[in-house]
Symmetry: C2
């Protein structure tokens, strides 16, 4: 089936290097049923007469770990959770300042003023709905996985075009960027054990039992060993952005809560991401230590308002799992996007072709036993999924 807006999509399974794909993608139109404000649910005959629909467009990528199951459930349910959460607040969405009461009835004369003072806009309700939808979806995944005795989790990156604005909600290490004619606009940031170190260490400080005596919450440049005991070594605690020196005790020799650097960074030696959906049953291998308390399912939502920008014909949103971004920088991706679209003006499938082109670039070419990039760097060995979403001829609703 054609993607909305003629968007392009491409994926490759572990760069064809293995047989399992843990990435999942989803996209669809979301119709949000709107009720006439001021009507109660018992006035259903009126509701039926006045039902209208608001239309949203949705694209999402899920990068599974510990199996594809969580990513599959998320790809089947997240859009429904979003639809549901938007419908719950739709009465407040169509006005510039949402009413204090969803019913629209004014309990207190100065209510509109309170709402205005807090700078609450329709856009904030959409952001809140996305935040709540991720939480709801995480619960659904937890139930489904428990019922079917499956395990695993996934990252989630979702884009929603709604009422003239683009919302990008991210929980994990996928990434979305806008490639515009003159600049690149990052629409997400990555949540990894490294970027969320302080939040994770703080939880361990507040609830030391979560580590069950097996891990140390302190960060050190490397794992310590017996020779380090009694010495002062570089360390960071939860409240520190800077570094200090700590006299090493025997307890510091335990495995660190957050350990490793860059792509090797791990939470509890187990997970490479700190936000996402699922992982309700995940335990640190050979222990009873649960990973889920340290994970967050809440996305950070970024908003792009089309009314404030002059969108050009080749401007696109690129969404991709870490398989792409591990080997290509934002700049490199933007360069490929701009030159590809400039060279392929008339191809009706240019956005799909561009998605394939990006995937091919990150997968590299096989030379002997290795997959290499054009510049002889090692290629991505991960699954790679890419959405290319044109922004110019977007549907008007």
């Amino acid at each position: 089936r054609p993607l909305p807006w003629g968007a392009g999509y491409a994926e490759v399974i572990n760069a064809e290097k293995s047989e399992f794909n843990e990435d999942q993608a989803a996209c669809c139109q979301i119709s949000i049923r709107r009720r006439e404000p001021g009507l109660e649910e018992d006035e259903e005959w009126l509701i039926l007469c006045s039902t209208q629909f608001l239309t949203g467009y949705y694209w999402a990528l899920f990068d599974g770990h510990g199996g594809p199951e969580a990513a599959i459930i998320a790809s089947n349910y997240l859009h429904y959770c979003i639809k549901q959460k938007l419908e719950e607040v739709v009465g407040g969405i169509t006005e510039a300042h949402p009413p204090m009461h969803l019913s629209g009835r004014c309990v207190c004369d100065s209510d509109p003023q309170f709402v205005e003072e807090k700078h609450i806009h329709a856009e904030d309700l959409v952001v809140g709905a996305l935040e709540n939808a991720f939480q709801e979806c995480d619960e659904v995944i937890g139930q489904e996985m428990e019922a079917t005795h499956q395990r695993g989790g996934c990252t989630a990156l979702a884009a929603l075009y709604f009422q003239g604005k683009l919302y990008v909600a991210n929980a994990g290490d996928s990434r979305a960027i806008l490639v515009l004619k003159d600049n690149i606009v990052p629409m997400s940031c990555e949540f990894t054990p490294e970027t969320e170190r302080q939040r994770i260490q703080h939880l361990a400080f507040l609830f030391p039992k979560l580590l069950d005596g097996e891990f140390t919450r302190f960060e050190f440049p490397r794992r310590l060993k017996g020779d380090d005991v009694g010495q002062k070594v570089l360390y960071r605690d939860y409240f520190m952005e800077g570094w200090g020196y700590k006299t090493v005790e025997k307890a510091d020799l335990k495995y660190p809560l957050v350990h490793g650097h860059g792509k090797q960074a791990r939470l509890l030696g187990t997970l490479a991401v700190s936000r996402g959906l699922g992982d309700h049953q995940l335990k640190v291998i050979d222990t009873n230590i649960e990973v889920k308390p340290f994970l967050s399912c809440i996305p950070k939502v970024n908003v792009f308002d089309f009314a404030l920008h002059d969108i050009k014909e080749d401007d696109v949103l690129i969404m991709a799992t870490d398989g792409l971004w591990d080997v290509l920088s934002n700049k490199e991706v933007a360069h490929v996007v701009r030159s590809f679209l400039a060279e392929n003006r008339t191809d009706p499938h240019r956005f799909s072709e561009l998605a394939k082109c990006l995937v091919r670039r990150a997968r590299g070419k096989k030379r002997g036993h290795q997959w290499m990039l054009d510049d002889s760097q090692e290629a991505s060995y991960d699954d790679i999924s890419v959405f290319v979403i044109p922004l110019h001829n977007r549907d008007e609703d």
Copy 2:
């Protein structure tokens, strides 16, 4: 005594409107004793031979609440805590990459590589020292206040010039900005119940007992009342940057944990700041609810590297308590700074005069019973303290 660098300072007590000044200021040179790396403490005769000193310059503002006592103790101790924490790590500060072991001895051949991979620089040790110094100073204040049966707390804004870099550490709602020839560089951000809502609500979610059944952790645009029960009203929980609608229950009628807007925002109906020193004994009036668990004494540290900037003759650092920033924006302050310094090129006391000028501008003029600004806005009724620190002819050390 003259301020280092010919810096200027001015203060006014409650704009001369009351008799108590809760602001305190401090500034001094900090000499950090440096030991030859590789020497143990038992080789003290060698240490004595090779002692050298590194010099730092320090300016700080403290805005007290519930009395001036905490601010006074902080102004007497924080520089000492900073000196102490810097001396503890000085062995690692003088090298570009601090050694893994403070002793300089290499336990593991690849230690320098681990440190480099983590991007740990000398500057991170200074940041860590400042973070630890604030925590230490908070403990000292707690002990002093308990011993002398005093109460109260204070914000803390500290600037340290050290090894060619300016470090600004802030815990509270004071502010520091660099006014340069062509731009304004904010060197701090404010920590208030409003800016730290999510951190505060999250603590209440994790430890509901802290609210003792007297407060609700949810945020609403206004305090709810009986008429709101059963209705869906706008709300935010700890995980939300956006807003949603919540069906009001009776428990939601409790006083909100974070309430009010802008300068009226309060934590537990009690405090207007969410970070600072002291307040160890502070309880919500007529209850046993402690405020301290929700406060943080950890500063956010911003660094400005002079080696990366061409500093002009009239470039200055402005530090001031909220008394100034409540009525003058960064832009307005920068305008006053630039025009005053341009008009007073030769006055040897121009930086002090500028500090006085800024204080006078924020205090306004008395018209009838009111203090008014030039543009007929109401003037600041708070204490106002201002440092003007020239950056061009800074001492070299």
